[in-house]
């Protein structure tokens, strides 16, 4: 493993949008991306938290459009490439065309881990445009390694040259990551890269990323100071330090990325990115990390515990994108609580 090159992929400006309620300013986007570029980060994702076309009541309207962010960031990059995320069902191939015109080099098409076949038109289109095309299988803890491989093979057949095992809920432990990444590595052609995207809800972001690398992953997602949904993504400055200790190569200057974390990202945070009881519940119950702030808002508005909402969402098998379920469920739970109180008052 010594001297192995691992490509790190920054999520601060895409997954980080969730924790900023999609309100990152153009100035912040440019400041963070140019600092990351200078630190040697090879790939930076810039999109609404829910991908291209995510601007909505359901997921939140961003401070600026995807196009404005991409046009502000891409011309300023000296060595870093920029990627965009797209979830079929939310964004369309029209968004891919726009992102390519803005100059993105990498397009990542994300589906729930069992629904890869909704990505055919988007992956095929991106590959045809000559983009580095990534299949991104979300909530991968919900299925077996073999089932994940079957879905990954579909995305490869559509034209993806890189496949991700995505731990959207921050639920996985290192053994599971090892099994899933090994299964993908052994089951997919050698020219298809494998990637891992972690969340830090059980504090496993770094350990899971190391397990993924040891099992054959060549790309790892993370964000600076963890800025991302839930308890954040794998903290990149920590991962860089760990990979340095292991003798691996990332091309990233450790002190510079530490400074990005301390001087730029931490001051941007609306609240500290930490494993509070609700973020911990995401990881423990296997719930999509970007539900966190929606559940906290529902708690404030309807007086139902965010933790109870998140556990119920997990029990119902909700998947990424079902943010609309949160207010609906909170209303139903509030009604049930009111009924229970009336019953106990009369009884």
């Amino acid at each position: 493993m010594k001297n192995k090159f691992v490509k790190l992929h920054d999520m601060s400006l895409r997954d980080g949008m969730h924790s900023k309620r999609h309100q990152i300013s153009i100035e912040e986007m440019v400041a963070v991306s140019t600092a990351l570029d200078a630190a040697g980060m090879p790939l930076i994702e810039v999109t609404h938290g829910d991908g291209l076309g995510g601007a909505s009541v359901n997921y939140g309207f961003p401070a600026h459009s995807d196009e404005e962010y991409l046009n502000a960031v891409i011309p300023k990059m000296t060595q870093a490439k920029v990627s965009a995320l797209l979830l079929p069902g939310i964004g369309t191939v029209d968004h891919i065309r726009m992102a390519q015109a803005c100059g993105v080099s990498t397009l990542r098409v994300a589906t729930h881990c069992t629904e890869a076949d909704v990505s055919q038109q988007h992956i095929a289109y991106s590959a045809k445009l000559g983009l580095d095309t990534v299949g991104f299988l979300m909530m991968a803890h919900m299925i077996s390694a073999d089932a994940l491989l079957e879905q990954a093979k579909l995305m490869v057949s559509y034209g993806a040259n890189c496949l991700y095992c995505t731990d959207s809920a921050g639920f996985m432990l290192p053994e599971e990551v090892t099994e899933k990444i090994s299964t993908l590595r052994n089951g997919l052609p050698d020219n298809v890269e494998i990637g891992f995207h972690g969340h830090h809800n059980l504090a496993m972001g770094v350990a899971n990323s190391v397990a993924a690398i040891n099992a054959g992953a060549a790309r790892i997602d993370g964000s600076v100071a963890g800025l991302g949904a839930g308890a954040g993504n794998t903290p990149l400055e920590v991962l860089v330090a760990v990979l340095n200790r292991m003798g691996m190569k990332t091309g990233i200057d450790l002190y510079k990325i530490m400074d990005v974390a301390e001087d730029l990202i931490v001051p941007m945070m609306d609240s500290p990115i930490r494993i509070d009881r609700d973020a911990l519940t995401l990881g423990y119950a296997g719930v999509y990390s970007s539900f966190l702030l929606f559940a906290k808002r529902a708690e404030q508005r309807y007086g139902v515990s965010a933790r109870d909402i998140l556990v119920e969402l997990g029990r119902r098998g909700t998947v990424g994108g079902q943010e609309d379920m949160i207010e609906d469920l909170a209303l139903t739970m509030a009604k049930e609580n009111a009924t229970a109180e009336t019953v106990s008052a009369t009884g």
Binding site: V57, N58, G89, I90, D94, V118, G321, L331
Partner: protein, 300 residues
């Protein structure tokens, strides 16, 4: 009442079969032919068992029988790719086409919103939008008929089992067509549509969320009354159409949370998304039949 309209169903898959079962109960429309392309298909065999004439040579195979069998209406449950040709051939013979594909050659039809207006005109092809559109656009219209809607957004969550390979391969068709109909039929100035597919077992019943951003202060009483009236209209043909929560008022935002349970004719009850399409298509045909009956009563 006058004699029933005689119909052809093209596409003996899940949708076509469910439509056939509903049509067998109709007082206004009578299924005569089921058209497919594979003589061995289960759908054609089922139709034959139900006493319907079957044709395995596609639309061309049934064209010689249209006049003799007095066919006046056709339902296309195939795909957007072949719909245009199917429609052209049948229109030439005077058959009105109800399009359940995303082809959308003709105007969009959401029965409780614009069927009345459409059936006044001499239209040869109407499009049933999408399942998500049928489930949500009535609610957008319920708000926009009270107060201007600057933005309408719908989120349809459907069970993985209820979404076939055609929809999966062309999911952009769903978002584009639905968003466009949220504007054109729902009355929102800007429309947005999102679809989420959920693989949970047992399969979840179709869920739909509708968010409208209204202009000016929301008239809560009038919007709430309008929404409840519209739910009642949809329930006339989809009894399992339910308002679970809402309307919720939050500044400019008005939100409705719905659940759509199907009748379980051929498709399982959780597949309310498919049921609302077949029910809306049949309702459209029945309304056309009623108008024709009224017209002939007047001329007679």
């Amino acid at each position: 009442m006058s004699k029933k309209l005689r119909a052809v169903i093209i596409g003996p898959g899940n949708i076509g079969t469910d439509l056939l079962m509903k049509m067998l109960r109709s007082e206004w429309v009578e299924p005569v032919w089921m058209v497919g392309i594979d003589p061995e298909s289960d759908g054609l065999k089922r139709a034959a068992e139900m006493g319907i004439k079957v044709c395995a040579e596609g639309v061309d195979g049934v064209l010689p029988f249209i006049k003799a069998d007095d066919i006046t209406i056709a339902f296309d449950a195939t795909s957007a790719y072949v719909h245009a040709e199917n429609s052209r051939k049948l229109n030439e013979l005077g058959v009105t086409m109800i399009d359940l594909t995303p082809a959308a050659i003709g105007p969009y039809c959401i029965p409780p919103v614009n069927l009345d207006a459409l059936s006044q005109s001499d239209i040869q092809n109407v499009n049933m939008v999408t399942c998500g559109g049928q489930a949500t656009i009535p609610m957008v219209a319920a708000v926009s008929r009270v107060q201007a809607v600057s933005y309408g957004e719908i989120i349809a969550t459907v069970s993985s089992r209820s979404i076939g390979p055609g929809t999966r391969a062309n999911i952009d068709e769903f978002t584009r067509t639905t968003a466009s109909a949220v504007e054109k039929v729902g009355g929102a100035k800007q429309g947005k549509a999102i679809i989420v597919i959920n693989p949970a077992e047992p399969p979840l019943i179709m869920r739909d969320t509708i968010h409208c951003l209204v202009e000016g202060e929301a008239d809560q009483a009038a919007i709430t009354a309008s929404v409840h009236d519209m739910v009642g209209e949809v329930q006339r043909y989809v009894p399992g159409y339910r308002l679970v929560n809402g309307p919720v008022f939050d500044g400019q935002r008005v939100s409705m949370y719905m659940e759509v349970e199907g009748l379980g004719d051929y498709l399982p009850k959780y597949a309310g998304n498919l049921d609302i399409m077949t029910a809306a298509a049949l309702r459209t045909a029945e309304m056309i039949a009623q108008k024709l009956a009224e017209a002939s009563a007047i001329t007679a």
